[in-house]
Amino acid sequence: MKKLGGIAILFLGGILFYTSFDFPHWGDGKSPASQHVSPYYIEHAIEDTSVPNIVTAVLADYRGYDTLFETAVIFSAGLACFFLLRVPKRKAPTVRFYRHLPTGVTLRIEKGGRLPEKTREFERIDSVWVPYDLIIAMTCRLVVPFIQLFALYVIAHGHHSPGGGFQGGVIFGAAIILFAISNNLRRSLKRMSERTSALFGSLGVMIYAGTGIFCMLMGASFLNYSSLASFFGVDRITARSLGILIVEIGVGIAVTAVMVWIYYNLSSAGKQDEGL
């Protein structure tokens, strides 16, 4: 199998190498890929949408349908992980583990035992022992808010600089996942529960689709943001860039929530009690 696969793949590689000579040169401005719609996008993006970042304009306006269903694909990936892995909540475990932070002593408390008072000195830990690392916990605590701020900036500034809903959403989700890794899953679930992430995931897709339907209610076709002009009180071109912003925010919310949701399910194998 290994040899056969290797031979087949080397054969394929030979064919690809041979055909690469028929491809346009790298950096050729007259290659077929840069001929048909691409010059139109570059030359008309600003007058059509008043968005200087052409990638954003194409993503959310010219190819709005594509992105809508791309967002739906991501949401259904989150759903797929949920349906594959999620198991009903088991009864609360009879044995709990706590750590006394100043001394590092681990306490094992059987059922009926007295739980330690809720002070900062005691921290509940997973049944799989992990060392307490002050440096990691403090660094992540300091860094996470700035990553989140940066993510919001990336979403909000997607019109004028590289960025947008997908990138910002992934950065925001990564910040929450970093928090979950550096502390533990239980604490992260307290801040953003599974229900919240599922609801926000569907909310993001709904914002996107809802914008399209709202455009229809305003008397234009689906996702034609020009019709929002009278709603925002701006001209038809600026309305397009505002419509793009709303859509990007929806994408950002959906991507953030789905990333976190997938992480919750994967890291705890669907039990959502403890994990990494």
């Binding site: 790298w26 950096g27 050729d28 890929a33 030359e43 993006a45 600003i46 194409v58």
Partner: protein
Amino acid sequence: MESIGAIIIAKYNYWGVIVLLLVGLYAMVAKKNLVKKIIGMNIFQTAIILFYVSIGAKKGATIPIILHGPGDSSHAVHAAEYINPLPHVLMLTAIVVSVATLGVALALALKIYSQYGTLEENEISDKIMESEPG
């Protein structure tokens, strides 16, 4: 007839992509461990992304964000000055979708592991054979 050096400079992006693509495909075909197959799939996706992005390049052009100052309403924009935005748009969504497919693939691998206790393909098929009567 172009010199060999000019041909290499004009095509080496494709060759890099081809090598990555073959590495990913080989991992998907020949490796028995499911996680290694998933890693191969990701390398394959990365090769496709690189291919698209390198197609969008234009010599002497800048990123596809139109230069403009405040209050600068309209000036002529030439397509040759900006790289092709279309591959970037397609790959932007492809990257996020590849993360989502990675999540689903890992979820399936987790499920298979909890069912069969192994991620090696041959061991899994042995266990399926054992469990079937006859």
